[in-house]
Amino acid sequence: MKYTQGSYPIVEKSAIAQDTFSFTLLCPEVAKIAQAGQFVHILPKGYGLRRPISIAGIDPEAGTLRLVFAIRGKGTDALAGLNQGDYMDMIAPLGHGFTLMPEAQHVVLVGGGIGVPPMLPLARYYGSRATAISGFRSFPQVILQEDLEALGAQTICCTEDGSAGAVKGFVTTPLEQLLSEGVDAVYACGPTPMLMAVADVCLRTGTYCEISLEERMACGVGACLGCACKTKNENGEEQFLHVCKNGPVFKAEEVQW
């Protein structure tokens, strides 16, 4: 089985920041095979299209998946209204996740806003070998710093207005400093301007970098070709790949912005 569709019970729900929620679903067959960087496709009741949501936690022993998402519109608002005991209609696990490197000594996880959740499974894998740089607009949006620390990662929290965290400004400032000390890989997820900046600094310093993209999608499995992403292959040819099937994780040098 690569992926499956089912209705799965919510075993835990909490509000973790302004308009941002954490859900834990009991879905043993998905938890058994899900990989860091993959996503799930959830149908809000009464809507025609599903919402792609990144996987924020995989517990194969407990058979659970953790999802963290922010209310972005009516669909995610409807999903946020679900409670413990309710069911989520989900296709999962989907997409091509992050490449894990058993030999890596030091990796950097760069999350921007609601791009922080997919960094958690990486933090779980790398533990103290990971430094997690998280960027937020302001204090009310800050999420998951304790979770990253509990998994062993060093955390650097940045806010644009300086209202929380050690750094006032963007994630690229602490990132450049870490890269100058030598880093085996950088993984990033967040808003496009942040991803462009992270990809740029990694390409400039010759650091291996993978980024997770977001795009409006329909099927979620690679059939409809809705979520196109312009990429360049090894021969320098431009082509459209698809965020749902070829991604959401791409090598930074592949993506044509």
Partner: protein, 303 residues
């Protein structure tokens, strides 16, 4: 258990349900969910002569009870389709309708001529794609152009030829009659309705192509109306589509005059939609004591 089999242009379908072109790729992704042999047929992703890269994203926008798409016929080209996808599809024990498109009548004919050399069961000629600049919609909105491209493809193939019609016209019956006269063995309708959404804060269309094709339950009543009108205007079979979500919807399109039904957006909402629609049709027929789905085609009695 009712008899769900139908026969269109001499091709036997085990049931009338066909995932529509563009939603189902070449079937590989949905085979993860269920065997493709459960389907009446599969209309494959629209294929052109040469490879097409498609439009820049965003290509998808959700709308009330529907969605817009502007994929722009992204496909690997007919040679890659015949070499890499068709042989696999032909082993799936379901009818394969190869959906084809082109910028010119010559391109459409060349694609059809290549398919003529294969074992594909039917050709569905798309003269109605709203998302490409040349060909596509331009063919589908004029009777002369529609007849010309149909006739060019007709000369290139002996396969059963289904022509897929655009709803973005003043009179779909005129276009249907024109393609019938030009040699179409059947028509399929409706393709998407041209639509647009705007992000009011950015003052930008949501779709990078600005406009796109509207599908989903929102267009179902338009599909029922057009299938009914075309059924009263031509003597060739109709494959109906447009917002079909349930078994009852499929029955409704068949009562309006369709001999088979394609399913589009519903596959995105629920990948099992085609299977549930087949089951729902069977339940309806059993409940009504109707032994064959063929007995309901075109049975609506207008006031």
């Amino acid at each position: 258990m009712a008899d769900l089999s139908v026969n269109i242009c001499g091709v036997e379908f085990k049931n009338p349900i066909i995932p529509a072109s563009g939603v189902f790729g070449y079937g590989r992704e949905y085979e993860e969910f269920y065997p493709l042999s459960k389907l009446g047929g599969i209309a494959t992703k629209g294929t052109t002569g040469a490879k097409r890269t498609g439009n820049i994203a965003p290509r998808i926008a959700e709308t009330p009870a529907g969605m817009l798409n502007s994929v722009g016929l992204q496909n690997p080209g007919i040679d890659a389709f015949i070499e890499k996808e068709l042989p696999n599809l032909l082993t799936k024990d379901t009818v394969i309708l190869a959906n084809i498109a082109g910028a010119t009548a010559e391109e459409c004919a060349e694609v059809a001529a290549k398919l003529e050399q294969t074992d594909v069961h039917m050709i569905e000629l798309n003269i109605s794609c709203p998302n490409v600049k040349q060909g596509g919609a331009a063919f589908g909105t004029s009777c002369d152009m529609a007849a010309q491209v149909t006739s060019a493809v007709r000369k290139a193939t002996t396969k059963p030829l289904v022509v897929k019609l655009s709803p973005n016209v003043t009179s779909i019956t005129d276009i249907a009659k024109a393609v019938e006269a030009a040699g179409a063995d059947a028509v399929s309708l409706i393709n998407t309705l041209l639509g647009m959404r705007i992000d009011i804060r950015k003052r930008r269309p949501i779709l990078h192509n600005n406009v796109g094709g509207l599908s989903g339950p929102a267009i179902f009543p338009v599909a029922v109306r057009m299938v009914w009108q075309v059924a009263n205007a031509v003597n060739i079979p109709i494959i109906g589509m447009g917002g079909v979500t349930t078994g009852e919807d499929a029955i409704e399109l068949m009562e309006a005059g369709a001999s088979a039904v394609q399913v589009g957006m519903a596959c995105f909402t629920d990948p099992f939609a085609p299977i549930k629609i087949i089951e729902g049709m069977n339940d309806f027929l059993d409940e009504q004591g109707i032994s064959s789905v063929r007995d309901i085609v075109g049975t609506v009695q207008p006031w």
